[in-house]
């Protein structure tokens, strides 16, 4: 059986008809009890499981996913990765994540197709330019690479952008984070799953959590459509369903769930060499290695769990994109989809213990959590293992909504992805 992925093993397997590869992870049956159970099977969930096993030696754990792993927002997002947030708390967690991304493919022995192709945030007027420059300086104070480009430099870096000043939203400059970029969402999920499974973590699919049992203020176990599982620690990492699962222990969250849509065009030859985001026009775009343009924008305004969203939002999305790139107007769109994003009032996540002992929440990542995946999993695993938040997780405790100490990234984070 061949486990390790390498050029040599690829060659060897090629010569024997690829008969020796073993499945990347075990599709486990749920056991009657675990030391900890993670609800959800997205990127953050699998990262949490991986770091729990690797950093804290907790291998008698399971992740329970109601569908298949990576079927939620992990499989629906546009994978924009950057860490140029305004506030120190955000810089710490997104910066931590970006550092982990840089070595992750090698560490997991899985090609996550990490591409540091650079992320541009465009400025279209003087006020926006001032805001973006302020953010660049804040980033630098936090040792995050970030620079401001004028229009000519933008054109040099990304030739597809028109810098004509004779349009409704002229590009007058942009911030650039060169270490930002995109990666392959499925590969991240599968890579974490494979590495966690190899350490003994049970990955249980088609297993929906339907209830949580607690006694004397502490969790005792979890009801699923595949039976009851005893456990003293439950970590909820269910993105759009955060409020629904929290309600199983009587907890209310400051989260609202909204559809967020994305689309991809037919594949074309390389035309866009980096990620381009615009706050004022409100669209963002990158080109996948297959050649498709990956396009996204804002949420549907109403609360919904339907994973589709309305057509008017797509119309806006495309209109905005064409404002930026009129030359894309003849492209046909191939696929559209929606995911349910868990939006927090301050556009920052919740990584927190709760009033119920043994129940931990990681959610509220909203429209922009993919970039944080390894950092989120790393900090959350620490919290679940030690029952105390580390320095990175502490500012994101749910108490901030009572104390008023919000991490208000809404205005600061650009299109928020």
């Amino acid at each position: 059986m061949t486990r390790h992925y390498s050029f040599f093993n690829l060659l060897r397997e090629g010569l024997r008809g690829h008969s020796g590869w073993e499945p990347a992870w075990r599709d486990a049956e749920p056991k009657p009890s675990y030391d900890a159970v993670i609800i959800g099977g997205g990127g953050h969930c699998l990262a949490t499981a991986y770091y729990l096993a690797r950093e804290h030696g907790m291998t008698n754990i399971a992740i329970l996913e109601k569908g298949w792993i990576g079927g939620g927002n992990a499989g629906r997002n546009t994978t924009i990765i950057r860490s140029n947030y305004l506030y120190d708390e955000s810089a710490a967690i997104y910066g931590h994540a970006l550092k982990l991304w840089e070595g992750l493919g090698r560490e997991l022995n899985y090609n996550i197709m990490m591409s540091h192709r650079g992320v541009l945030n465009l400025a279209h007027d003087d006020h926006e330019a001032r805001q973006l420059k302020r953010r660049v300086e804040a980033n630098r104070l936090n040792s995050i690479d970030s620079e401001y480009l004028d229009a000519k430099q933008v054109k040099e870096f990304c030739p597809a952008i028109s810098i004509s000043q004779d349009v409704r939203y002229p590009v007058i400059g942009a911030t650039l984070q060169r270490r930002g970029g995109v990666n392959r969402h499925d590969a991240v999920v599968w890579g974490f799953a494979r590495a966690a499974s190899a350490m003994g973590v049970d990955i249980v699919q088609n297993c929906e959590v339907t209830g949580i049992r607690a006694e004397a203020g502490a969790v005792t176990g979890i009801d699923t459509n595949r039976g009851f599982i005893r456990t003293p620690k439950i970590a909820s990492v269910v993105a759009g369903h955060s409020s629904v699962v929290a309600r199983m222990v009587g907890l209310r969250l400051p989260i609202e769930s909204h559809p967020l849509q994305a689309l991809v065009s037919e594949p074309v030859k390389p035309v866009l060499n980096c990620v381009v985001m615009s706050n004022a026009v409100h669209a963002y775009c990158s080109q996948s290695d297959k050649g498709e343009l990956v396009i996204g924008a804002g949420i549907d305004a109403y609360l919904s769990y339907t994973q589709r969203g309305g057509f008017d939002v797509i119309e806006h999305e495309i209109a905005s994109l064409l404002e930026l790139f009129p030359n894309f107007s003849r492209l046909r769109m191939m696929r559209q989809w929606g995911g349910i994003v868990d939006v927090c009032p301050d556009a920052s996540p919740i990584i927190s213990k709760t009033g119920v002992k043994g129940f931990y929440v990681n959610g509220g990542w909203g429209t922009g959590g993919w970039k944080a995946t390894p950092g989120s999993g790393h900090a959350f695993a620490d919290l679940v293992a030690n029952d105390e938040p580390n320095g990175i997780a502490a500012p994101f405790a749910i108490e901030r909504f009572v104390t008023g100490r919000l991490v208000a990234e809404h205005g600061a984070a650009a299109v928020a992805h």
């Binding site: 109601k66 959590v209 209830g211 409020s243 629904v244 199983m248 589709r308």
Partner: protein, 160 residues
């Protein structure tokens, strides 16, 4: 008019085509989220409306006497119900009046429209998810977890 009809059909085919087999069995109106029946103006495209969030939340009268916890509860905490949910809508590009709507957030089916200040309508149809996190039978894209069936509606809106 022609423009609008095209738009609705376009979105429907996006949502329904992959699940055409399922769709025939359903009572759910897939187009419900795109047409809202304004009590004053009649059926209009959803783009004309803006969303006002959870309904039946009154601003506390004596906020100076409230604890931080109580204030956080009013200001930030939300039911975020999956299932039948009461919410406020405004016909922003029409008569500009506000009204309440009862909608199943798991399917986007609109169940009732009623006046601001009125009580929750008593008897409405609709289907709650069988399990708390069950997916809608169409359009969710999550084929592995489509588990909405006919069940009596018990909890309408915990915030009410």
């Amino acid at each position: 008019m022609a423009q609008r009809r095209w738009r609705i059909e376009g979105s429907l085919s996006l949502a329904v085509l992959p699940f055409a087999g399922d769709a025939t069995k359903l009572k759910v109106q897939v187009s419900s989220m795109f047409i809202i029946n304004c009590p004053h103006c009649g059926p209009r495209d959803q783009v004309e409306f803006s969303y006002g969030g959870e309904a039946h939340r009154a601003r506390p009268l004596h906020s100076e006497q409230m604890s931080d916890e109580e204030w956080a509860e009013f200001l930030f905490m939300r039911a975020n119900t999956k299932g039948v949910f009461a919410e406020r809508w405004n016909h922003a590009a029409g008569c500009r009046s506000w009204f309440n709507m009862l909608r199943n957030t798991a399917t986007d089916e609109i169940l009732a429209i009623y006046a601001i200040g009125a009580d929750l309508p008593a008897e409405v149809g609709g289907q709650n998810p069988v399990t708390p996190c069950g997916e809608a039978p169409i359009g969710s894209g999550n084929d592995a977890a489509k588990i909405i069936k006919d069940v009596p509606l018990t909890d309408k809106n915990e915030a009410a």
